[in-house]
């Protein structure tokens, strides 16, 4: 635990405490769908970061797939629907 203090040298002048890092890691953990429900003591910070990386990558892939799907759908649909869709989504 105390060896984490050596990492603060990378950040330059500001002192970052372990508590701050733990707070932020806990906050991140709440956003992840898989390990959100697990008890926070049992999940290490490295594991949270790893899951975060995997989650971001999967979100990127989903955006890619949805963009592909939208490009195919755009080829076959009328543009006037966009206004209808916007009004539907805004309700």
């Amino acid at each position: 635990m105390s060896s984490r203090r050596s990492r603060s040298k990378q950040t330059g002048g500001s002192r970052i405490t372990d508590d701050q890092i733990n707070d932020l890691v806990t906050k991140l953990q709440q956003l992840l769908p898989e390990i959100r429900n697990r008890h926070s003591d049992k999940v290490s910070a490295a594991k949270v970061l790893q899951e975060t990386c995997n989650y971001i990558r999967s979100l990127h892939r989903e955006v890619d797939d949805l963009s592909e799907r939208l490009s195919e759908l755009l080829a076959t649909t009328d543009t006037a629907q966009a206004a209808i869709i916007r009004s539907l989504l805004m309700q």
């Binding site: 990492r7 594991k47 971001i56 939208l70 490009s71």
Partner: protein, 174 residues
């Protein structure tokens, strides 16, 4: 299907509304730009690229400059746009093949990641933090505290983006 009970949806200035408006506007523009005469693979790919860029750009614009990652993404998109304007069409066709290859490489690289965090927790943390820096736009220049905060906001925006895109795709396929 979609829960309209969330009060945030009704707020016209919420992130979701701002993103939806911008993105739909961009989609209409993309659709009106080129006549969808042929569905050659190259045109499909270009349209896919344009939609993806429009989605990322719409989200970054909806966040504006309030976040480091959105500023970094807008800067990257702007510099890529000005770079592309200067290049010839031949160069962009070379880029499309490299982009396809990098997409395939990305999915295969992800499988290797499950084996990395063995051994000490310390080393694992720093290694994962570096990986995170590459994923979050502008992450290379942030310190650890900012990186974690920006990541949380970035994930929140990405999930909103995916939600809205899914809804739009669903409506279009009806």
């Amino acid at each position: 299907m979609s829960p309209m009970n969330n009060p945030q949806d009704l707020n016209p200035s919420s992130l979701k509304s701002r993103f939806t408006t911008r993105f739909l506007r961009a989609l209409t523009k993309i659709n009106g730009q080129k006549p969808i005469s042929s569905s050659s693979p190259r045109e499909m790919f270009q349209r896919y690229r344009r939609i993806k860029v429009a989605a990322d750009k719409s989200m970054a614009w909806s966040v504006r400059s309030r976040r480091t990652w959105s500023r970094a993404m807008l800067w990257k998109l702007r510099s890529r746009y000005s770079c592309r304007q200067a290049s010839s069409s031949r160069r962009s066709s070379v880029r499309t093949s490299t982009i396809i290859k990098s997409r395939q490489a990305k999915t295969s690289h992800e499988k290797e990641n499950k084996n990395t965090t063995t051994g000490q927790d310390e080393v694992g943390f720093v290694v994962q933090a570096d990986k995170l820096r590459k994923l979050v736009p502008g992450g290379e220049a942030m310190d650890l505290c900012n990186l974690l905060g920006e990541t949380a906001h970035y994930i929140k925006c990405l999930t909103t983006q995916v939600q809205v895109m899914r809804k739009i795709a669903h409506f279009y396929s009806l």
